[in-house]
Structures are given as structure tokens and as C-alpha cells.
Symmetry: C2
């Protein structure tokens, strides 16, 4: 295990009806909220009315900023910053999926940014202060409700970058599994794939040293996600299975999965972010395409880990491990079967990307690899990984 | 999954040499510390000098309170309260095992207690304010470094009670696995058993509903602890295995293992605490005695869970499950073999308790069952469980 810092101070309220506490929980953070959300679904689901009436009861005024996109963009966040400043809001209440909570982090930091907000994303500056954030997570996957990371896309520069600051961990996070019953199965599968990718980025590191408890954490949660998804695909209103996925989403990227594997890289995300930035593909779908490709490219370096992944997570009993490369191929093949079985794409074409701009993709991965400190990916490596996605 | 609140805001610094940061990390909490520790071993290990010199460099004055016992007692905590008040310390720096950090919580709350500190422990009053605590964990097991719980024994009343308050979560926790290299193997095994008991209390609940991700978390961590202990028993300086145990200790009782199983009871602890209170037995050793006994007593109510425990955690491949009771007996038998193999006691006698005072034990368990809200344990149940420990 490498040295690490773990810090996830969000107070999580999890379960049926926890939103009834939202007024009381917001109260310590001030008298005026910026309510940030995405689509009309917050209103049709009844959540909007519930939130507004609970805040009203506590005497908290609400200013709204609607229309956050699935891959949230900088201009919309900047509009939010303007509203938050003009209206002198005390805190941000982000209600929706990871995209909404991610954008809230940009706004929360942006309110105190003197210059260009994007400087925080491109690593030129560090956040020193943010507005408090209260998160209502309705589409679990990113753990944005428990972590310090928020991702935005800058369309002018075609960049999708993350901002990382302890000032941006939400103060309180509400997770009610019943709010996820209505998520279409396709998107539930994308979310589960995203959660698994978060769990697995460190598991396949080429630079860390593994420990039984860290492996157990990843293997336990990943098999839990697979089993829960299987149940939800049969019965979308299976509460315990939905709850299981929601909680795994929170735990998979709040710092626990990579603890001790710091500096381990998140290579699948490095290859996926440019796809969402350029082609607006759903993040989970993009990950399903790049992850097996990346495993194929790296297989001989991480063969023992791929075999362990097959045995412990895909539960391939009796896997013939006598020939390492062949065993890896069997595991990756089984992984692709799993991905197809849950309705995720396996190629760029299946993800709706017909003619990928290879030069631009290479450029962006190169930028990210510098930003995230991930070595070992020259032009030819990057092209090779994407070629395996065709 | 039941509803739950998860809140573990401690900033954890984990790894080799993390104590070099202690001065800097203490600085925001004031200019005068109460250094709380147990034995001379803090000095002989060199940790004492390291801490003192790092604090000095930051201009932080240190007042000391030494001599915390393995099962920490109220009178020693009250002495600490007196020193902390008299010296007007700004924060408490607790360096040692769970007992030291537990006692620090009593002192931290006691400084602001107007009346009897024990009122907080017996549930008569709730903590409203505490001094900040910085924790240096050197004997992992209790997760006291990441949670809101602290246990003390009141020798005048022969009671061992816990205090639970969000005000008592340490601000910063330092965990350096190398500080655990010198823990004798017997005590390492006790610690691992304690960690496993924390993981398993919720796993065997008779009132909760289980979910795949929660089960995966417990099974992954418990197998990780078993595998790590096996490595440490062969090589006490196996860093990754020691680190693995240390991190499992932090995660097993910081709220994650029981999340969604709230109200699930901690029956093994309910039966163990009176043993440590009356006979000063090591907590992990006491748990090793009561846990199989409790499983035997409850086996027909939780048979499917015992079988799952055997299959997933004890990894009994090919367990014959055609007859439920017999399968449970096989699993509990295998569990006892495991306990003996790591050097833990299996009976009260092996734990050094030759003539247990059954009436007093029954009285104490009855008190704890009320305090902790654990139903279903009348006099005859309690006697039956302890009889299985003979």
C-alpha cells in the first residue's frame, strides 16, 4: 500500500424519505439557496415541490438555476456563478445526478474566483474557498455527493477536466434509493459500469502494491454491483438492489477504492473523457468501450491482476490459468460478454461515434496524462488503445 | 437496507512516516496540547520524541497525561479532565491504541461537562461540545480514530459503557503501519478478531435486510483480514499485510460495516463488555469466546447467514448445505478451528476466567441491551449464551 490521505467529511443521509430532513439540514448554512438542477424531471417526480416546501418552512429563500446538461458545461456554470453573486446566496443546493453536483462545485468555487474559473480546472490555480454545497443525489455513479471532485466540459476548448478541492465536498448528501426507481435500465447499466470502473482503476494499477483488504474492498463491492444490477434489470423497483447500487456509487469514488494506490492513474477515465467531450457520449457508455480495449493493450503487464479479476469479480470458476495470455483473453472475453449482456456498447460505433478524430483524441489524452500525472502513454500507445475500440 | 446516517469526517493520513506532518496538522487547533498516552512504549519506540519535537517546532506547548489502561477507566479520564481544565489546553493529542483514543473522547467531552461525566455514558445526557482530538493510532482495531464512539469502564459500578457523539470524531488521524510491527502476535490476533467482530455484528443481524453491496463490503474486508493475519503470523514485518489490517481496523467500525443495518445490534460486544469490565480480559480475546457461543445459540434463526459466512468468508468450498442445522454446525466448527489457529481462546477458562459470576454478567448484559436497544435477550437467553462459553 502506498501512502494516502482519506478525507470524506460529507454527512450522508441515506434511505427512504430522507428528504424530509432537508430544511433542517440546510438551515445552518444560511437563509438563501441557489437551487441547481437539470431537467423538468425534478418537477414531475415531485422532488422539486418537496424541496421548495421544506426550505420555505425553515425560512430559506430559493433562487433557481436550471438546465444542467448530462456532461455539464462551463458556460452554464458561469451563469450560475453570476446568479449566485448577484443574489448573494449563502449555499448551493444541487439536486440531480453527478453532473448537477459536479457543476455545483464549479459554481461554488467560481463565486470566489477572481479570474478565469477554468484556471482551476487546467491546474493553474488552487481553490481557496467555496460556497457550502448540499447535495441531493438522484442518479448515483460518480460519488460527487461524497468527494472533492467535479468535472466540467469547456466547449470552446473541447476539454473535459476535473477540479479537485477539499472545499468542494458537500456538507450534507441525501440519497433516497426510491428516487432511482425511474432511471431507465440502459442508464442504470451505464451507471453501474461507471461505478465498476471507479472500483477497478486502482485494481489494475501498474505502479502500486496491493493489499488483501484493498483487494477485498474492490472485489466485494464490484460483485455486489453486478449482483444488484442483475436484480434491477429483472425488477426496477427492487429496493435493496437499487439501494445497493446507490451506496456503491457513493463508496466507489469517495477515496476508498484507490486508498493506498495513490498515483495509480485512472487510465479508463483518461481515455473516456475525450469521447464525452468531443461526442457527448454517455460517460458510462464510453467507459464500457475503452475499458476492455485498455485491458487488451496492457494485458501482458497486468496479467496476474486480470486473472484475479476474472476469478474474484467475474467469478470464472475453474479458469485455466496454465497459459497466462490465454487466461487473460478468456477473462477479457468474458468481460465483454458481461458488458453486452447489460446493454452497454463495446465499440465506438455502437456508442454512436462513427468517424473518431484520432488526432484530436490523442491530443486530449496527452493533455490529461500530464494533468493527472499518468505516465507511459505516448502517441502510439494512445492510438493503439483507441484502435482496439473500433 | 434500513435507513442510515454515515458521518466520518476525520482526515486520515495513512502510511510510512506520516507523523512528520503532525506539527503542521495540529497547528490549526491551538497552541497547547494535552498529550494522552498509555505506556512507556511510546517513549521506547521513539514516537514520543518525534511528536514532542514536531509540536515544539510549531510552537505548540505540551501537557502530559500518561498511564491509560488497556480497558480505560473513568477515574483516569477524570484526572485528564482536571489537567485539561487547569492547563486550559486547546486540544487533545491521543497517541496509542483504541483505549487511548477512547479515553481522549471522555476527556474531550468531560472538559465541558457541568455535572457527572458518567451521565453521558449511561445515556442520561448528550454531549454538546468537546475539545478537538488529534489521534495517532498505533494498535489498530477499534476505529476509534475515525468514529464517534469511546468506551470507558467505571470500576465503582463495574460498568463498561460507550459514549457516542459526532463532536468526538478526531479531526485528524495518523496511521503508520510500521508502528504496528512490534505488536506481539497474540495481540495482533486479538485485534484482528475484534476487527472481524465489528464487520460481522451487522452481517448476522436478525432484524435488518441485506443488500449485495453491504455483504460484499463485509465479506471482502473480512477475507482480507484473515489473509493479512496469516501473512503477519509468518512475517510480523510484512508491510502490506500490517497496513491491510490497520486500514481494515479503521473501516470496520467507522459506520460503513453497519450502514443499512442500523438498529442491528452488536450482540457479541454486548456479551463481551461485561467480561472485560469484570475480569479485565483483552477485548479481542473475550470476543473470540462469546462469538461462536452466540452463533450456536442463535443458529436456527440465522442459518442462511451462517452458511453464507462459511462459504464466503471462511471459504468452505463444497460445504454440504442439504441439511441446514448440520451445515451451521460445520461452519461454527470451522470458525472455532480458525479462532484456535490464530491463538485466541475459545472458552472462558482459556481466557483466564475460572469462576464467572453469572448473576452479575446477566445483570450487565440486561443493562447494555436496554442502553443499546437490543431486544430478545431475557435472563435465560443470556445464561444460555454464557453457558456455551464454559
Amino acid at each position: 500500500m502506498n501512502n494516502f490521505m482519506f478525507y470524506s467529511p460529507a454527512k450522508v443521509l441515506f434511505g427512504r424519505g430522507v428528504l424530509s430532513e432537508i430544511g433542517k439540514e440546510c438551515r445552518p448554512y444560511g437563509k438563501k439557496a441557489l437551487l441547481l438542477y437539470g431537467k423538468e424531471s425534478l418537477k414531475t417526480s415531485g422532488l422539486y415541490d418537496q424541496i421548495i416546501s421544506r426550505l420555505k418552512k425553515e425560512g430559506i429563500a430559493v433562487v433557481e438555476h436550471q438546465g444542467v446538461q448530462p456532461n455539464p458545461v462551463l458556460p452554464h456554470a458561469l451563469e450560475g456563478v453570476e446568479i449566485a453573486r448577484r443574489e448573494s446566496v449563502d449555499f448551493i443546493l444541487a439536486a440531480g445526478g453527478g453532473s448537477v453536483i459536479d457543476e455545483a462545485k464549479g459554481i461554488a468555487s467560481g463565486v470566489y474566483a477572481e479570474d478565469d474559473l477554468w484556471d482551476y480546472y487546467s491546474g493553474k490555480k488552487a481553490v481557496e474557498k467555496s460556497l457550502p454545497i448540499i447535495a441531493v443525489q438522484t442518479q448515483p455513479a460518480t460519488s460527487s455527493e461524497m468527494n472533492m471532485v467535479g468535472v466540467l466540459t469547456n466547449p470552446d476548448r473541447n476539454e473535459k477536466f476535473g477540479l479537485r478541492s477539499p472545499h468542494n465536498v458537500p456538507k450534507v448528501a441525501f440519497l433516497d434509493p426510491e428516487t432511482t426507481f425511474s432511471i431507465p435500465l440502459k442508464y442504470t447499466a451505464y451507471a453501474c459500469f461507471d461505478i465498476m470502473s471507479h472500483l477497478l482503476e486502482g485494481y489494475f494499477t501498474t505502479t502500486g502494491s496491493f493489499s488483501p483488504v484493498q483487494d477485498g474492498f474492490v472485489e466485494g463491492l464490484a460483485t455486489g454491483v453486478i449482483d444488484s444490477l442483475e436484480r434491477v434489470l429483472k425488477n426496477p423497483e427492487d429496493y435493496d438492489a437499487r439501494a445497493s447500487i446507490m451506496w456503491a456509487g457513493a463508496l466507489a469514488w469517495n477515496g476508498l477504492a484507490n486508498a493506498g494506490l495513490e498515483g495509480a492513474a485512472i487510465p479508463s477515465h483518461m481515455f473516456e473523457h475525450p469521447l464525452s467531450a468531443l461526442y457527448d457520449v454517455a460517460h458510462g457508455a464510453g467507459l464500457a468501450v475503452v475499458m476492455p480495449a485498455w485491458l487488451k493493450y496492457r494485458k501482458m503487464e497486468i496479467a496476474p491482476r486480470i486473472i484475479k479479476f476474472g476469478q474474484k469479480i467475474l467469478r470464472m470458476e475453474g479458469l485455466d490459468t496454465s497459459k497466462e495470455e490465454k487466461a487473460c483473453d478468456l477473462v477479457i472475453g468474458r468481460f465483454e460478454e458481461f458488458i453486452a449482456s447489460i446493454g452497454c456498447p463495446l465499440t465506438l460505433k455502437e456508442a454512436g461515434i462513427v468517424s473518431p478524430d484520432m488526432d484530436e483524441l490523442v491530443k486530449q489524452v496527452t493533455t490529461l496524462s500530464k494533468l493527472w500525472g499518468i505516465g507511459g502513454y505516448g502517441d502510439s500507445d494512445i492510438r493503439a488503445v483507441y484502435s482496439l475500440c473500433l
